[in-house]
Structures are given as C-alpha cells and as structure tokens.
C-alpha cells in the first residue's frame, strides 16, 4: 500500500477531529483487533488502562499496546464564572463515553490532563491551596516544561490548558470520543491533534510501524525489522520495563505531599514529540551498535533480537554506565535512564504494596507517528507543520512528578541525580538513539483522579 499525499495530510481544522488521514490504514494493515480481556470496574486513576493483553516474546513478557492513539490539546473557551457548569458538561460527556465503551483497548481509554496555564489562570487560589508538592525536589509536582541538554533551541515549550489522551484498538472509537469532547461540547479551542499507532507485529506478521513507514515512503523504512513494535526496532512495552499499576500515583512512593488529598490517585504526564531519523539509525548504526546504545555497551544479545530482557536484576549501575563510556565512548539509553527510572531501594507504598529495588517507575504510553510534527495544528507556522510524513514518536509518559520525569530525561543525556555527569556533547553519537532524535515540542500536565478529571478545582470556592 502506498499513501498519497492527500491521505497523509490532515483535513482543515473543522474536519480534523473526524479525519483519519493515513491512520485509517492502521485498521486495514492490522487486520482484526487482538483479543482483549473484559473490563472490570472503572479504576480511580485515569492513567491506568485495564484489559491490556500480554504476550511472551523472546522469553520476555510484553504488554500489547492499543493500536491507535490520539492526543488532542486545547485551550479553554469558557469564562471562569462558567467553569462549574463546564465541568458538569465535560463530566457528563466523559461518563457517556464510559457507558458506550469499556475502559480497555477493546473499548476506549480516556485520560484528561491539565496544564499549568489552566491552574494558574482559571483556578489560581484553589491551585495554591491544593497543588501537590514534590518533597524530594522541594518544588511543585507540576512544573513548566523545559529544554534538556540534547534538545535544540527550537523545541517549543507549549502552554496548553488541557490534553486528552485517547487509546483504542478501534479508530472509530477514538474519532467518536474526539468529536464528542471537542466538537459537540464547545468548551475547548483545539490547538493540536496528534495521532499514531504502535505494535501489531507480535503474532509474527509485519508490524504496523514497518508497514506504515513503508506506505509513507519514510527514509530508512525498508531497514526497520519486519516485526518491530516501534520504528527504532526494539520492544519498549515489556512488563518489567513498565511501572506497576499504581506506582506513578502521587501518593505511591511518598515523593509528593498531597496536602488536602484532592489529587490523590492522580499523577503527572509529560507529552512531547520527537522526530526520528530512521535512515541514520539503520545506516550508520549496525545491530551491535544499536544494542550498545539502546541498552548498554557489550550486552550480549543474539543478532536480530527485538525484545531484550530488562528485569530488575538487569538494571545497570552508575559505575557500569561510566565504565561503558570510558571503554566504548557510548552510553546505553536504557542503562543510563534506569539510574533514575528504577527504584534504588525497596519501597513500601502507603497501601502496603511492596515495590522491590530495581522496579521501573514510569508508565510509558508513547506511540509512533507519521505526523510532522502534528496531524493538525492551530499554529502551523510556529509548530513547523509539514505536509511530508515523517517518522517520529509522540512521547507520552506518566511519572509521579515533573521533577521525576526530568531526572529520567537528564539521565538520558548522561546527567545523573546528584549532579554527576558523563562528558557527552549534545546529540553525540555516543548517546545512541539520542543522536537520531530531535524533540520538537514539550509540555507537562497533571492527570487528576477520575473523580476530579473535569475542570479540577473549579467546583471549590475561590
């Protein structure tokens, strides 16, 4: 299948929410949807997606992500005086979606996340009283996004009021939800629409990223391994590389002072977009070098392996990362970030759950895209919109706080908690995948618990 430019392009603003562009192809390429478990009761967390299937690949348990993903960002179109009414309308619409679709990949996962501009402009007094505080960083748990060492100066730091993450195996479920929330409610002024896909290759067939990249004619597409879960060729959703169900909740690890408790069972979400230079990745790095820089130098992996075990016992230490850099001039992406993303000691959560040393914390919800950089933008010039499809990733990740995300992201650049750093130039080849990624946009959001997801704090007295 070869896409025409028209299929790749999003439609005009009014129709963009309903338009599917190239992504309609995902349903055709993926065939029937994978079998999914039935839904249980709705969890109090918005960010938890139940009914997710696991498979075993190369002896490693892997979570099968939903096929389709979409993020819509927006500013509010309501006055402060109308917030409570707006909240009721939004909650009614969200509840209606929950009645129509089970909260699983077979149905629809919805997470409504709120940006700092919303809290500071619309509910400033309540925000000051209830904002979660990161005790470890001695900062608010929700911070303004910033650029990192390997980010270009052109990285746009966004100021959206709200972002809605939609996940499903069925594109029509996502389309219906986006229309319901953004077309029919008239509460939001949409700023961007971001679409993408993941997986599809676990049963041995050609994966969605490979098929979509080939269809779009993206440079380097031919060299993506046939069954790769993501464009870069390795599996990112293995169970032991993802945080357990509730670990990113504000209250789970004791990082956060929840003050009133209003945001208990909520979390933090970082949203960014990165371009991926697939031709560079596959033509200048051979498999050995890709393993060295994605995992750690010298890791013994059979040629062609896509799923590499990342259990707690496999987590690298800071000295191992430094030694690898001294001997090979490279750091492994996973090895470096694990210094910040894995628990450094056993932890007993407030609900009595024991998290062992080496347990992963972040919940990744990233997905590949052909957006360049977005499917649709209200500010095409600022956002650098192009009509040429481009391989990339909409990186969605849940961490307990902004600072926790920053620790992990800094480690990716060789800057470790406590200030120790590895002498790498920004986007140095020794950073492996960092050298083929370019971040175009970033923003942090707070994901309230399900009970307070619609215009949080607006119902409280000013």
């Amino acid at each position: 299948v070869k896409l025409t430019r028209k299929q790749v392009l999003a439609g005009a603003a009014a129709g963009a929410l309903g338009a599917t562009g190239a992504y309609e192809l995902v349903d055709r390429l993926a065939g029937s949807s994978p079998p999914r478990a039935a839904a249980g009761p709705l969890p109090p967390e918005q960010h938890v997606l139940d009914g997710v299937r696991t498979v075993t690949d190369n002896g490693v348990e892997v979570v099968v992500p939903p096929l389709h993903h979409e993020v819509v960002t927006a500013r509010l179109r309501v006055d402060r005086a109308d917030l409570a009414d707006a909240g009721r309308a939004l909650e009614a619409a969200l509840a209606d979606l929950e009645r129509r679709f089970p909260p699983t990949p077979a149905g629809l996962g919805v997470a409504v996340a709120w940006g700092l501009p919303y809290f500071e402009r619309f509910v400033p007094a309540a925000w000051r009283a209830h904002a979660p505080l990161d005790l470890r960083a001695q900062k608010d748990a929700l911070l303004v996004a910033r650029r990192f060492t390997s980010d270009p100066d052109s990285t746009v730091l966004e100021e959206n009021d709200v972002a809605v993450l939609l996940r499903s195996d069925h594109l029509d479920h996502i389309t219906e939800a986006a229309k319901s929330l953004f077309d029919e409610l008239d509460l939001f002024e949409v700023r961007s629409i971001r679409k993408g896909f993941a997986g599809g290759g676990f049963e041995g067939g050609r994966s969605l990223p490979k098929q979509m990249a080939l269809a779009a004619g993206v440079p380097g597409a031919e060299l993506i391994p046939d069954t790769a879960e993501l464009f870069l060729g390795f599996t990112s959703t293995q169970s032991q590389g993802l945080g357990p169900r509730k670990i990113v909740n504000f209250e789970a690890l004791g990082y956060v002072d929840l003050r009133s408790g209003y945001f208990r069972e909520g979390t933090h979400m970082h949203l960014s977009h990165l371009n991926e230079e697939l031709d560079t990745w596959y033509q200048l790095f051979d498999f050995r070098q890709r393993v060295d820089t994605v995992f750690r130098p010298g890791l013994e992996v059979a040629e062609g392996t896509q799923t590499v075990r990342q259990a707690p016992a496999d987590v690298a230490t800071r000295s191992q990362v430094a030694h690898g850099f001294r001997s090979d001039g490279t750091i492994g992406h996973s090895a470096a970030i694990q210094i910040a993303s894995r628990l450094q000691s056993d932890h007993v959560a407030d609900d009595g759950k024991v998290y062992r040393k080496g347990t992963a914390v972040p919940h990744r919800a990233d997905f590949n895209t052909l957006d360049n950089p977005f499917f649709w933008s209200a500010e095409p010039q600022r956002d650098g919109m192009s009509d040429q499809p481009s391989a990339g990733v909409h990186f969605v990740v849940f961490n307990p706080t902004s600072d926790d995300f920053e620790r992990v992201r800094n480690a990716m650049d060789g800057v470790f908690p406590g200030g120790a750093r590895i002498d790498l130039r920004p986007r140095d080849r020794g950073q492996g995948i960092n050298s083929v990624l370019q971040t175009t946009h970033r923003q942090n959001f707070l994901v309230p618990p399900r009970r307070n997801r619609a215009f949080p704090l607006a119902e409280l007295p000013a």
Binding site: P219, Y282, Q283, L284, D286, F287, R288, D328, G329, T330
Partner: protein, 197 residues
C-alpha cells in the same frame, strides 16, 4: 558528513532520463556484461597501475558514467599494495547526489574502519542483507557502511586473494529501493579487466 567529494556541478536536467547520454551503456546491460569502449582504457590503466584485476562497470546510474578521468570521476586513489578507491559523483544542491564507489583491498579479510566513538577498529561493512551471484561474483549486500562508503549500500566479494566492493550512496533523487536496484545492476554489469588486457 554525507558527501566524500563533490567535484562536479551539473545541470538538473541531467537527472532526467531524456537529458544527456551518460547512461547510454545501460541499454546494453541486459545483454552479456561488457565494459563500454569509452570506459575500458581507464580501467585497464588502473589494473596495470596496481598490478591486479579490476572490475569495469557496464552500467552506471544516471547521470553518471564509468569513465575514469571523465567528468563524473571524483576520487582515484591507489596504494602500493594493490588497493584502490575510485568514485563517481554527481551532486547539486536541491537536486541530490548520485555517488558510486569502487574499492579493492589486497587481502580477503573484512576491511576495518575506525569506530566513530573510540579508537577501536571495526568492520567497514555490516548488516548483511542478501547475496547476488553474477558473472562469477558471489557478493554480499551490506546496509551499514563506513568511511568513504558511509550512507552507501555496498556489495562486497572476494576474488584472487583480494576484496572488492561496489557501493552507492542512499540519497535523493534515488530512493532506497532504487539505489538497491542500481547497485545490484552495476554488480551484474561488472566485467573483469586484467592488468595484461
């Protein structure tokens, strides 16, 4: 750096099939491989210069030709041990680049290149992606190439105690698929030219 040498600036129309006549030998490529008469003297001179056989292409991708010393010939480097690098390149800003390299190393070991991030020596070619047998050549296609062949798709084979490579840069105006087709067609068109020819 994607480009090794850029000695020639040419008209955009040279990339169009109707323009120029540099690819005319392609018309004969489907027949038995033959070194075009206009290109033969240069390859014979190269073979005599290194005292070893070389391979003359019977076909080159538009707009290049295979005439050593011609307008598209970039590098012509030889060493005292019988090795060489001969390149042909077209480059113009906005139009793209067509770049083909021919190598010989006087040993059968995998050529080594310096690693990008350390002083270690690593294979110049990796990620094997298939074989082609033609004209007595049994070549392996590599998708990762280094040094002068960085960004190239490279065919490597052995003959007479030496290692030979022909490669083409993956860059517009040709797609990956077209470059793979091009370099395979070059390989199939190669004719052995002995120093005594």
């Amino acid at each position: 750096v994607k480009v090794v040498a850029a000695p020639v600036v040419a008209s955009v129309c040279l990339l169009l099939a109707a323009c120029g006549n540099s690819a005319q030998p392609a018309a004969h490529a489907s027949a038995a491989a033959a070194c075009p008469a206009a290109w033969q003297p240069g390859w014979e001179k190269l073979a005599r210069g290194i005292g070893a056989p070389v391979y003359c292409p019977g076909w080159m991708p538009n707009p290049l030709d295979g005439r050593i010393g011609g307008e598209w010939n970039g590098l012509r480097l030889v060493d005292r041990h019988g090795g060489f690098l001969v390149s042909f390149i077209y480059q113009e800003t906005g139009s793209g680049e067509v770049h083909v390299n021919f190598h010989r190393w006087p040993t059968t070991g995998m050529p080594l290149c310096r690693a990008e991030t350390s002083q270690q020596k690593i294979p110049c070619y990796s990620e094997p992606a298939g074989h082609v047998r033609a004209n007595g050549i049994d070549a392996t296609l590599y998708t990762v190439s280094r040094d002068a062949d960085q960004w190239h798709l490279s065919y490597l084979w052995r003959h007479g105690g030496a290692t030979y490579v022909v490669s083409e840069h993956v860059a517009p105006p040709y797609t990956f698929k077209q470059v793979k087709r091009n370099v395979t067609r070059i390989l199939r068109s190669l004719v052995l030219v002995r120093p005594s020819s």
